[in-house]
Symmetry: C2
Subunit: 150 residues, 2 copies
């Protein structure tokens, strides 16, 4: 449930990429090469990160995106909220259940509470990891090569 997409994964990838050389703007075309996708897909993700205040973007020649704050101050929950919004990780019925049935009339409210608690648990876990943590682990795992090899 939730979104069934790869936006969070791509967004974290982008931010980890930007953490390599903080302060140096990275063009969407270069990031897209690392992510293995189209530059427009990267720009869409970066746009959401920008609206959330996680990155700044400079248009024009020599421009690109950079981290708006230290990588250690950006949690994966920040990233999740930036690209997924406030929606829950779980979905209720496609059509509202029968209001005439004792179960149907109440199940929605009950499930909402349960799903909210489960979503929060997952989000708490995401909040405990920062982009700096991800970046550090990437490097320690052997990802020591430059982001854009020759």
């Amino acid at each position: 449930m939730g979104a069934n997409n790869s936006r969070v994964a791509v967004a974290v990838h982008v931010l980890a990429y930007l953490a390599w050389r903080p302060g140096e703007p990275a063009a969407s075309e270069a990031v897209a090469r690392s992510v293995n996708t189209n530059p427009v897909v990267v720009r869409r993700i970066v746009g959401a990160l920008r609206q959330a205040g996680l990155v700044t973007v400079q248009p024009g020649a020599g421009g690109g995106a950079r981290l708006a704050r230290d990588a250690g101050e950006i949690t994966l929950l920040d990233v999740y909220r930036a690209v997924e919004g406030p929606q829950s990780l779980f979905r209720l019925h496609a059509q509202p259940p029968s209001a005439c049935c004792g179960v149907g009339s109440q199940i929605g409210g009950v499930l909402e509470g349960v799903f909210c608690r489960a979503s929060r648990a997952a989000q708490d876990a995401l909040a405990q990891v920062t982009v700096a943590d991800v970046f550090r682990e990437v490097r320690s795992r052997g990802g020591a090569r430059e982001p854009q090899p020759a």
Copy 2:
């Protein structure tokens, strides 16, 4: 991420419905009326619950589904696993990232660990709620009417 569907909600609804009169088989047509959907949709969900051993189904006249064990012995994590399978709540990249880039070559493994922890946190929350809990709260909220009103 995950599945972005309403199967878990419908499945819990079905089980709460069955908990109303344990031992009495409920036909997919009656359950569908409460869920406000098509009987085939209910049969598909019930089929998954049956394969997971959560309900038993009796075909033929007067048949239907009933709980395979006490409602207090069925957690929402059991239900989640029954209808969603073992997949994670979060997705990695649609296309594998560039293996040439230091970030791209390692980000997958790092994210896998993070996402696994977050998924487990949500599943732990689901494991702490049983169908009996849901049923109890439905009744206490005023869902005292019969499952199938006249």
